[in-house]
């Protein structure tokens, strides 16, 4: 099995949580739905037209956090419009919305998410690999919202092995469901900071949630999760990366 690895890089990110809009809270890392949207954008798929093509049975997505993360809230002015006619600012009012931004712990550094991608349809996979390798994108990548513009950097395309490991250290985020199913636990690191995010997993063709929401655990200071137990993990020796797909 082959996998494509690339980094999504930017100064800051905002992956809005769906259940609050009067304040915009953010996930610490992009949900699977956001990530497939980014990949679909790389190959120029139109909005809301790619959900079936990137469904969980065809796609594998894993995300690894490569920067120590923290959040800051800043209030931003949004257009206040109760109906479409007011979108031209005729109301002459703004609505102030606190916006939570994800930033690297050291502000002068860049925010990096490493994305592992696999697609069963070789044509789609090749198209994504080709565009990422050449760092050519059809729609510009951003980290959640278009104000958080970003770029992608090709890291690896090649084989990935599946190995059974005892107490492995995982570089990616891990699904809570996976941990429960495999009867394992998390062994905390000294100084680690774990977060648990309940996020959308996929959409049906009407953009309604499908098999959602799902919960994922991430460690936001070291980006690694030590699992206590015996599990099968994906391994890329060249990168020294162990990961789990979000679909697992």
């Amino acid at each position: 099995m082959k996998v494509l690895v690339f980094d999504l890089i930017g100064k800051m990110a905002h992956f809005r949580k769906y259940y609050t809009n009067s304040s915009s809270l953010s996930y610490y890392f992009p949900p699977r739905t956001t990530t497939i949207g980014l990949i679909a954008g790389i190959i120029g798929r139109e909005r809301d037209q790619y959900y079936e093509d990137f469904s969980e049975d065809k796609t594998g997505i894993a995300i690894s956090i490569k920067t120590n993360l923290r959040k800051k809230i800043n209030t931003v002015n949004y257009i206040k419009a109760e109906n479409k006619n007011e979108l031209n600012l005729s109301r002459k009012e703004h609505t102030q919305v606190p916006l939570e931004l994800i930033l690297p712990d050291e502000y002068d550094k860049e925010l990096i998410y490493r994305i592992f991608f696999y697609h069963r349809d070789q044509n789609v996979f090749d198209e994504v690999v080709e565009n990422v390798k050449n760092e050519k994108v059809k729609f510009p990548p951003y980290l959640g919202i278009s104000e958080c513009i970003g770029n992608i950097k090709f890291i690896y395309y090649g084989d990935v092995k599946e190995e059974e490991k005892e107490n492995p250290e995982i570089n990616s985020i891990v699904s809570v469901d996976f941990i429960s199913r495999n009867n394992c636990t998390i062994e905390p690191y000294e100084g680690a900071l774990y977060v648990k995010e309940l996020m959308p997993f996929s959409f049906d063709s009407n953009r309604m949630p499908k098999n959602s929401p799902r919960e994922y655990i991430a460690e936001i200071k070291k980006g690694k999760i030590k699992i206590r137990g015996k599990i099968k993990v994906k391994v890329i020796e060249e990168l020294n990366e162990n990961f789990l797909f979000m679909e697992e």
């Binding site: 949580k17 769906y18 259940y19 609050t20 809009n21 009067s22 304040s23 809270l25 923290r70 959040k71 800051k72 809230i73 949004y78 257009i79 206040k80 419009a81 109760e82 109906n83 479409k84 007011e86 979108l87 609505t95 102030q96 919305v97 606190p98 939570e100 712990d105 809570v176 941990i179 429960s180 636990t185 998390i186 100084g191 900071l193 774990y194 977060v195 648990k196 309940l198 959308p200 009407n206 953009r207 309604m208 949630p209 499908k210 098999n211 959602s212 929401p213 919960e215 655990i217």
Partner: protein
């Protein structure tokens, strides 16, 4: 956040037998000596009695205080905090909204027997006839006259709204006058008003409870769709009408927040277009409302002039514990123990009293966390804005913080004498890192600082020192635009607070959030034991030590300058030598020379010769490669000054007391 709120709501609902409406009871007006005014309508005898009942937690439940209806919806509650709702339109609206049945019939009888419909010019207004209440009956003539006057004055208003408002306001005043006359209860003592029917309180009227559930839940599902719930994932009937969720963190009135801008309300479907954004099932809807109600009642806290919820949760855990109300309360109290010294003491006392429970709870402490959500919900405005959301604070971290706070307090007590001021709680930090009042962005810096401490992020020491210098300037220049207020004996408060900032730095060093310095053992040989201990325990670097000693000497000179003065706050000219906006290394050398002259002038050089020598040698050794900023220089001088002055004041006070 949402999952935790749902879990809390689910737990709460289960704990009170799935009685959804009871979970909505608000306990927000529970203050000492507050009353509820109850009007009971006895339909058989056609008598209405007014009664005065002291409020307690149980009575909120009995009288079913669930808040007034939100937004522009017609008021229909039997218990309200507003005379203008309950004594006017609520019974009528409730009557209209009810299905045929016993309660509807009784309300009809109440409206016919005890309410009157009056004319205010062209406007009709229905209200409870006060002259029919026992014991007001005896003042019937007086009441009728007063109502006639009120009617006449209000009728003169041309604006319809103003007319009604005027009548209602005067009616309320009249009611309060007669309440006072009957029972010596003043308006400010009244929290709530309630109607009971034939002695039955609202919580005992089944049809009323069903009606409330119908209004709050079932009417939201009138335009439901089928799909996967956005919260629990279950396939079920869903609604995106979130109007009844009490905290407005999700709103549907702006088209810009809807997917594909489809959220424009129409006459038919008010919430069209938000289904793709957030749709939830009936159970989750109830759980979220119940969860918020519980949080408002029991998990609401106040810290650094901000309101917040403490939201407990369990992380993925191998012992498969579920949230219980006991655990939720325990987590909250545990977290609050780092807020203030009083909270800490209260918690400590509870541990001792409830040791068994504590040990039982400790088993899941390792897998537990709390979120602290700071929010702003201005009264009267349908708004809920999140100011800061500090997530997943592990309870072991809270435990570690209480331990370090206690250790630092012990250091303070040992070095400076016992004082509750040395407990550097989160609230105390707010008093040491001043926030300018009236600037909405200012609260962010203290909330960010809390996040750093609670989640273990490295801190910017320069930011802290700048804040401490702001604190000093508040006292020195008697500034009043900050949360910290200069008080009568400024010099004592300044020195005490500056020493507390030394302890705050110590606390942060112990938490590995800032770097500490290395102590020179040789100082023990030349300095007074207490002072050497202080410098060692505070972890001052050589440069910081030099400035601390320089500040100490300034304190000594200052004491000489006010010798014989009536109070400690007399002006000390030596302080004019310090530029509180910052001092360069060159200024430090000049200051050191000035200090030498003043020591001579006041004939105290002999006592301080050794200190001066150590200070000067450290200063000279490092001055060429001076690493501290101009602001830091002043801060460490001020620390030494505070040490000298505080010790002197407390020692004199001690002698006076003895």
């Amino acid at each position: 956040m949402l999952k935790e709120i749902k879990e809390i709501g689910e737990t709460y609902r289960k704990s009170i037998g799935e009685n959804f409406v009871q979970t909505l009871v608000k306990k927000d007006k529970l203050k000492k000596n507050k009353m509820i005014i109850v009007v009971d309508f006895n339909l058989e005898d056609k008598i209405a009695n007014i009664d005065f009942v002291e409020l307690n937690e149980e009575r909120f439940e009995k009288y079913l205080w669930v808040g007034n209806r939100g937004g522009n919806n017609p008021q229909d509650r039997l218990t309200s905090d507003s005379v203008s709702y309950l004594f006017f339109e609520s019974p009528k609206n409730l009557y209209k909204g009810l299905k045929e049945g016993d309660l509807k019939n009784k309300l009809k009888a109440i409206l016919d027997e005890f309410f009157v419909t009056d004319k205010l010019g062209d406007e009709e207004i229905t209200y409870l006839d006060l002259s029919k209440l026992n014991p007001f009956k005896k003042w019937k003539e007086e009441i009728d006259n007063e109502i006639a006057k009120i009617r006449e004055t209000a009728s003169k208003e041309t604006d319809k709204k103003k007319k009604i408002k005027k009548f209602k306001n005067s009616y309320e005043k009249l009611l309060l006058n007669f309440i006072e006359k009957a029972n010596v209860i003043k308006g400010e003592d009244i929290s709530l008003y309630s109607f009971t029917i034939d002695g039955k309180k609202p919580s005992e009227i089944k049809e009323y409870i069903e009606y409330l559930e119908q209004k709050i839940i079932e009417e939201r599902f009138e335009n439901s769709i089928e799909g996967e719930c956005f919260v629990c994932g279950k396939r079920d009937e869903l609604t995106s009408d979130t109007a009844e969720i009490p905290a407005k963190f999700y709103i549907t009135n702006l088209v810009t927040f809807s997917s594909g801008l489809e959220g424009e309300p129409t006459k038919k479907v008010k919430i069209k277009g938000f289904t793709k954004n957030f749709s939830i099932c009936r159970d989750c809807y109830k759980d979220i409302i119940s969860g918020i109600s519980y949080m408002n009642n029991y998990l609401n806290v106040y810290l650094a002039d901000n309101t917040a919820w403490i939201i407990p949760g369990l992380f993925f855990n191998p012992i498969s514990e579920r949230l219980t109300l006991n655990w939720i309360k325990f987590s909250k109290n545990f977290t609050k123990s780092i807020f203030t010294l009083d909270d800490f003491i209260e918690y400590k006392e509870k541990i001792e009293k409830e040791m068994e429970d504590y040990i039982k709870n400790e088993n899941i402490t390792d897998y537990s966390y709390v979120d602290i959500l700071f929010y702003d919900e201005p009264p009267g405005r349908n708004e809920f804005k999140i100011r800061k959301y500090i997530r997943e604070i592990p309870l072991p971290r809270v435990k570690h913080l209480t331990k370090i706070m206690s250790e630092v307090q012990e250091i303070g007590n040992e070095l400076l004498g016992e004082d509750k001021n040395w407990f550097i709680s989160l609230d105390k930090i707010y008093r040491l890192v001043p926030v300018r009042k009236g600037e909405s962005q200012e609260y962010k810096k203290i909330l960010d600082l809390y996040e750093d401490i609670l989640l273990g992020y490295k801190l910017d020491k320069e930011f802290l020192i700048n804040s401490f210098m702001t604190l000093a300037k508040i006292y020195i220049y008697e500034r009043t635009d900050y949360n910290v207020k200069p008080r009568n004996n400024n010099d004592f408060n300044l020195t005490r607070d500056i020493l507390a900032t030394n302890l705050l730095i110590k606390l942060l060093e112990k938490l590995n959030l800032i770097e500490g310095g290395e102590f020179m053992n040789s100082l023990h040989e030349v300095l007074d034991k207490d002072m050497a201990n202080y410098i060692e325990k505070m972890g001052f670097t050589n440069e910081e030590t030099a400035l601390f000693l320089l500040g100490y000497l300034i304190g000594e000179i200052g004491a000489e300058q006010i010798k014989g003065a009536e109070d400690y706050n007399a002006k000390k000219p030596i302080l004019n030598k310090i530029n509180f906006n910052g001092m360069s290394p060159k200024n430090l050398l000049n200051l050191a020379n000035d200090v030498f002259d003043k020591l001579d002038q006041y004939r105290i050089r002999g006592y301080n010769e050794k200190i001066y020598a150590v200070m000067k040698s450290l200063l000279d050794a490092h001055i060429k490669n001076w690493s501290l900023s101009d602001t830091e220089n002043v801060y460490y001088i001020l620390s030494g000054y505070s040490y000298s002055t505080y010790k002197r004041i407390t020692s004199v006070r001690g002698k006076e007391e003895n």
